[in-house]
Structures are given as C-alpha cells and as structure tokens.
C-alpha cells in the first residue's frame, strides 16, 4: 500500500537523519545558531542546527541543540572529539557535551510504521483502577523528584562556578603583579643586584 511504503521510507529517512545528528548539551543561552555552526563546522559540514526549546524545566538550565551533520562518520567524529577534549563554546571554561542523537529528541519524528495505539477507559469498577491511580501518582512523584534533583544540580553548578571565578581572579591578580614587576624594571634591576638571570621569553 502506498501509504505504508511512504511511511516506511519516511521512517527510514528519519532514522538516517538521526544517525547523522549530534545532540549537544550544556550550551550557554547566548550560543546562537551561527556559533554552533562554525564550531562544529570544524569537524565537517553542518547541515542544520536546531535548538531544543525548554518548555517545562526551570529557567536557568543549560540549553541543548541538535546539529545535523553531513554523514554519520562526521557525527561520530564530533562526538568522539568533544568527549575526549573539553570543547568550549561561547565562553570558558564550561565544556559542552555531545551525544549521538536519538529519535525522541527530534520534534518531527514520523510515525513508526505499523504501530497502532489502543487506549481504553478504566473506571472505578475496573479492577485495574487502583493500580492505575497508583501509577498516576507515581508519575507525578517522579516528576517532582526530577525537578528536585535538577535544582540541586543547578545549585552545585552555581557553587562551582563561583569557586572557579574566585580562583581565577586571584590567579589573575597574581600574574598581573608579576607582569607589572617585570615590565617596570624592578625585576631586572633586582636581578642585576643579586646577579641572577631574569626569566625571559
């Protein structure tokens, strides 16, 4: 039947696209499509960049995107490279993460051919009602757990960021002091006095 064959080909096409796509996480909200494109363009040809919008979570979790490359080999290379070395985009030092994309990450996933979904109403008289209600409650509980965990992790990230910021500033101050001392002649002068060599380039 025509529709089934097109459904299958659609699905095959879609699967193929999935293979070529990389899922990137931990993106800063300032990252734009062109940034992603140039960044991953180093690994190959980027065909398409699509950000996954965040409709449900808290506002300040990192962004993620789906980047479609030209061939699965390039996608694999991207993932390999990014997992081996910290790849930074639009800011340092937090690295991004990359995974192979999966079907459910796409928003235009075609229907898997041959699948039929049934549903039925289960009301109080049905023996399964209790269990079903329990499951429903469980689902809600899980959602709450997820949110909680997420918030915890965000708090940890914030802590780390602050800590790194302080360290960085301290280091920078130290280095700039060294800079100044060397540049304004104090260090060479002292070096002459003590008969030592200045650490030069």
């Amino acid at each position: 039947m025509d529709s089934t064959s097109t459904a299958e080909t659609d699905y095959a096409v879609f699967l193929e696209k999935v293979k070529r796509t990389v899922y990137i996480d931990n993106l800063s909200p300032q990252v734009t499509e062109s940034v992603v494109r140039t960044a991953l363009g180093q690994f190959g040809t980027v065909k398409n960049v699509q950000f996954i919008p965040n409709y449900t979570g808290p506002k300040n979790i990192p962004c993620c995107a789906l980047v479609e490359m030209e061939c699965p080999r390039q996608a694999k290379a991207v993932v390999l490279e990014i997992t081996q070395f910290p790849f930074m985009m639009s800011g340092m030092p937090r690295p991004v993460r990359a995974f192979r994309a999966e079907e459910e990450m796409f928003d235009d996933c075609p229907i898997k051919p041959g699948r039929r979904i049934q549903c039925r109403w289960v009301d109080r008289k049905d023996p399964d009602f209790e269990v079903a209600s329990k499951i429903k409650r469980l689902v809600r509980k899980h959602a709450a757990e997820d949110l909680f965990l997420l918030q915890q992790q965000l708090a940890q990230e914030e802590k780390l960021a602050k800590q790194q910021d302080e360290t960085l500033k301290a280091n920078y101050k130290k280095f700039s002091i060294i800079d100044n001392v060397v540049s304004d002649g104090t260090a060479p002068g002292l070096a002459k006095l003590y008969n030592m060599k200045v650490f030069d380039a």
């Binding site: 097109t6 180093q42 930074m88 049934q118 499951i135 899980h142």
Partner: protein, 595 residues
C-alpha cells in the same frame, strides 16, 4: 662560480649564482648547490630532519643564500602532512602520500634554516588540475615520493583547493610542477580561460557524495557539483578536461574517482548524450565494489551531464521529493524540514504539520490556505486561554501525531499535540506532550476526566493530564560556568607568560583588552602552541565566540575538568534516580491485571 668547501666530511659546492642582496650587498643568492652527494636546485623539495623527530619535514627550497660570515642558509616553504593538520581536515580522507602546501599569511608558512639541515632530496609532484600546473604523467605520479594538490592556509587554518598566485613571495608557477622536468604525456595544455574547476574539487565533491547515504541529500550535492559541471558538460573539450581530471584523480586510488572516471570514460567513447546516460545506467549495475557508491554517483553524474533533462533518471532515487503536493509548501516556522508526508485531513490548525493518514479522523474544516503559526506562538496563546494541557506518562517513542490520535480516540475531540523533545536529562521511562485543545472547557473537561477515570494506553500506562503551566524560554541571563575577567583575559601558561612579557612593552595600560586566537602548529616551532595576540577593544567577544577544544596545558583545561567532574557526578545521580524510578514503575505495572 665554484666555491668548494669541505664541511666536516660532507662535500659541498655552490652552483649557479643568482644575485646579491642584503643591506651591505654582501649576501650571495644561489640557484643551485651540491651537498652531500646530491644536487639541489631552487624550488626543489627536500627533507629536513629535526633532532628528535622520527619523520622528516618536507619543504620546498625557495631561497638559497650565503651570508657575509659564510653561513649558508635556505628558506623553506613547508608542506604539511595530513596528520599535522588532522584537526582541520576533519573527516576527509587523504591519500597515503599526500601533502598540503603551506600558504597564506602567518607563522608556519616558511622558515629560514641552515643549509646543513637538509637531509635529502624529495620527489614531490603536484597533481593539481590547475591550469598553471604542467600535468604529471601516470608514471611520475607513481614514482613520486609525495603528491600534493591542495594547500593549507596557515592564517585561516583552512584547506584550500586551489594554489594561490603567490605564496611567501614566490609565484605559483615555481611552486607547481616545473615545466620541462617532465614529459608532457600528451596531456594537452588546458585553456586558462576556462573556469577553474580543479580536479581536486571534483574529488572532494565526489567523496562527499559518496559519504552520503541518503539519495535526496546526494541530490543536493549533485546539484551543487552539477552546477560546477554544467559548463563542463557542454563542450567536447571540456569532456577532455573532465577526463584528465579523473585520470589524475585516479592516481589516488579512490574508489569514487575510479567509478566516476569509468563512467565518464565510457561516455567519451560514445557520441551522444543519450548513449552516455545509458552507459551510466549500465554502470549502475556493475558495481565496482561499492554499489552504493555507484548508485550515488550515477544520479550525480547524470545530473552533471544532463542538467536540463526531465527528472526521469532521478525517479528512482528522488521519488520521495517528487511526492509532496503543492500544499506541502505550507511548512514554516518551527517545521522547516522537507517533510514528505501528506497533509492531514483533520483540524484546521494542523496544516503546518504534516502527518501520515493511517487513522480515520473526521474531516473537519480543513482550510488549506491557513498557514499554521509556529508552535511556540500557539502554545503561548493556548496557555493564556487555558487550553494548554500537559500530558505525561506517554511512551517516549510516541510521536505528536499519535498523541493526537489518542486524544481523538479517548475524547472524540480534535486537538494539536506536540511531543516534548527528549533531552539528556529527560526520563527514559515516559514521554510528555503538550496538547492544545480548541476550547478551554474541553481542556478542563479532559483533564478532569483523566483525573477521575484512568485512560489506559496500550502498554499499561495511564495517562496523566494537567493544565499546563508552561515555562517559556525567555532570555536566560544566568548560566553557570562561563567566567570572564573584567579587564584582561589571558590564559596563563608558561609560554603565554613569556609572550605576554614580551608584549607588555607594546601594551599600554591595563585598560586594553588582549585576546588571542589559536592557529595551527607550524612544524619547526618550539612552542606546542603559538598564540597570536591581537589587541582590540571588542575582540574579547571574538575570542569567546571562537569555539575550541581546550589544550591540556591551559588553566581553562583544569577548570573544564572540574566541570566535567561535576557533570559526571550529576549524571551518576540522575542515573541512579532513573533506575529507582524504573523499578518503582515496573513493580506497579506488574500488578496490573490486564495489559
């Protein structure tokens, strides 16, 4: 003319003089010399050994001279080996003995070295199809130690398919194959006023075509190379051009080139275009070991040779793209993909969103001219109107269309749904979807009913619905992990400090912003990383936007590692949570009496 010297026990003799130069006119330039048993001439390719390196560097002598103090120097323009620029090659395959000529402006292009560093002569043949390049014969290509046809720009860190006119002050004709050094092998001189499509461009395009598995994507490449080959296909002369390109490209032993060449050669034996097409189709059947490749090449080649033909040859490969009906073009906004589905027959708002039609749904007002708004806008309006519902506990592999069907089956109401895309954080146990109902009452009724009575889906999942309090992505300002220094942004490592100290004489006050860009690794350098420090007041943004892999010897690498550690911890926690959740779900599901 002759200055014989014995340098240690290595014999050396100057050859032909070229001229004098230098400030005091005391530098003598030469065109040739005899060193350690080998005659060297200007523009020869040589091996240069560096102490401690296992493999020698390869370069072209572009200047030879002797200073007033009798030191002999050569200036060498480098060739890069593929592994040296593997970062910029990305995925492209290179031939075993392929080299890249250094070009462009910047460090790493060429260096002055003592003449004694030369370790031997090297046979590097330029196989570029450039019109300026005398084409090498097949034997020459086989005998050559190395070949090159591409260049690497050290300034932009990019592979160039075409050799520049002038590199390091030397004109291209000296860098390409020398005229007279080879027998022309009957290859006719190519016209210089033909547009310059170098054979390497063909090769790269072909490799790209091969690499794609999907035919309609191959079509895109075909059309782009089709554009290039458009003019090629037009005249016989050009066919000769193509043949030669392929002949030389064949030397690389690439499968795709061979198949392409065979295709083209076959064509050239026959007179008309029609015959060519037939031979193409014939080739389609005899696979050269990679039938996919041939199949991919043939539509591409067909495209090349017959750009103005009807789509008949493409029918098999491009059946998909032929199908969409005219109102498919309503795709916009969030759904720009070339969707090959047929328009839905349901609901006025689903025209932007094409789905298959396996399930019967009533034909309500189908307004074909109605262009659906992008999903986000609709969600927002729905949210305000109170018609937005969040469904949870769906199977994660459901699609939006299936969700709509479910709603239809359950409530006999039409709606638009969108599955929430899964991210790395989302639970693999269930999926979620947003559903926009037509009216607020309908939405509330649905939610109420879902609460009271369970709607069981096929695999034991009761649907959970709630009026959605969607959170719309606004302008996020808080992102943890990107640090900035207000004034100065420097990466501290030993070499960096050295360079900065050297440059502090240039920098004035600390109000200036110093940034850096990483460029490629030049062979005989001493620093593993050379940074070109530019000074610019807005350049900090540029540096930040230059995405890069951090090197292990920087401070940022250490910080990045800390982030990775944190990430791992979070992942672990998340995994454990998911495991636990999965267990709980399973336990309950098992107790379901009917599935």
């Amino acid at each position: 003319m002759v200055e014989a010297e014995k340098v240690d026990s290595i014999e050396f003799k100057w050859g032909k003089k070229r001229g004098v130069g230098g400030k005091k006119k005391d530098i003598q330039f030469y065109e040739s010399f005899f060193y350690d048993g080998v005659d060297y001439t200007l523009y020869d390719s040589v091996y240069m050994y560096k102490e401690g390196e296992t493999e020698p560097y390869i370069g072209k002598l572009i200047k030879i001279w002797e200073n007033a103090d009798k030191t002999k120097k050569v200036k060498v323009l480098w060739f890069f080996r593929p592994r040296e620029i593997s970062n910029y090659l990305g995925d492209e395959k290179t031939h075993r003995n392929e080299l890249f000529l250094a070009s462009g402006e910047g460090v790493g292009n060429a260096n002055v070295n003592p003449l004694e560093a030369i370790a031997g002569k090297c046979n590097v043949v330029c196989s570029s199809k450039d019109s300026r390049n005398p084409q090498p014969s097949d034997e020459e290509l086989q005998e050559a130690d190395f070949v090159f046809y591409r260049a690497f720009d050290v300034g932009n860190c990019r592979i160039l398919d075409k050799i520049d006119e002038k590199i390091a002050g030397i004109e291209a004709k000296f860098l390409l194959n020398r005229v007279g050094n080879q027998n022309s092998s009957g290859a006719p001189k190519l016209d210089s006023n033909k547009k310059e499509v170098s054979g390497n461009a063909v090769a790269t395009d072909d490799t790209r075509i091969l690499a794609k598995k999907e035919s309609y994507l191959g079509d895109k490449a075909a059309s782009s190379s089709g554009v290039q080959f458009d003019e090629v296909a037009k005249t016989n002369e050009r066919q000769v051009l193509v043949e030669e390109k392929l002949k030389a490209a064949k030397a690389y032993g690439d499968l795709d080139d061979r198949s392409c060449k065979k295709a083209k050669l076959d064509n050239l034996t026959k007179a008309s275009y029609d015959n060519k097409v037939k031979s193409m189709q014939k080739l389609r059947h005899d696979s050269l070991g990679n039938s996919k490749a041939v199949a991919q090449i043939t539509p591409a080649s067909e495209d090349k040779l017959r750009p103005d033909l009807t789509k008949d040859p493409h029918e098999t490969n491009n059946a998909l793209s032929e199908k969409p009906k005219p109102d498919e073009k309503l795709a916009n906004g969030k759904f720009p993909e070339a969707s090959l589905r047929q328009p839905s027959e349901e609901g006025s708002e689903t025209n932007y969103y094409k789905i298959q039609e396996p399930i019967q749904r009533p034909e309500t007002d189908r307004s074909k001219w109605f262009r659906g708004l992008p999903w986000e806008e609709r969600m927002q309006t729905a949210h305000e109107q109170g018609t937005l519902v969040l469904l949870e506990n769906l199977d994660p592999s459901y699609t939006s269309a299936e969700v709509e069907d479910i709603i239809w089956q359950a409530f006999k109401k039409s709606c638009t749904a969108k599955m929430i895309q899964r991210t790395a954080r989302s639970s693999p146990h269930y999926g979620q979807a947003f559903v926009i109902f037509q009216k607020r009452e309908v939405a509330e009724m649905a939610v109420a009913k879902l609460d009271e009575v369970c709607l069981m889906l096929s695999n034991g999942r009761p649907l959970v619905g709630s009026i959605a309090s969607a959170c719309f992505p606004g302008k996020q300002s808080t992102f943890f992990g990107h640090l900035t220094i207000n004034k100065l942004r420097i990466h501290m490592q030993r070499e960096m400090v050295k360079i900065i100290l050297a440059l502090t004489t240039l920098a004035h006050t600390t109000g200036n912003v110093l940034v850096y860009k990483l460029c490629c690794v030049p062979p005989p350098s001493f620093f593993p990383l050379i940074a070109v420090i530019e000074r610019c007041s807005y350049a900090q943004r540029e540096a930040v936007s230059t995405s890069h892999c951090s090197q292990p010897n920087t401070l940022e690498y250490d910080m990045a590692m800390e982030w990775c550690l944190l990430q791992e911890r979070s992942d672990l926690a998340l995994r454990k949570l998911r495991q636990q959740q999965g267990q709980e779900l399973r336990k309950l599901r098992v107790t379901l009496k009917s599935k």
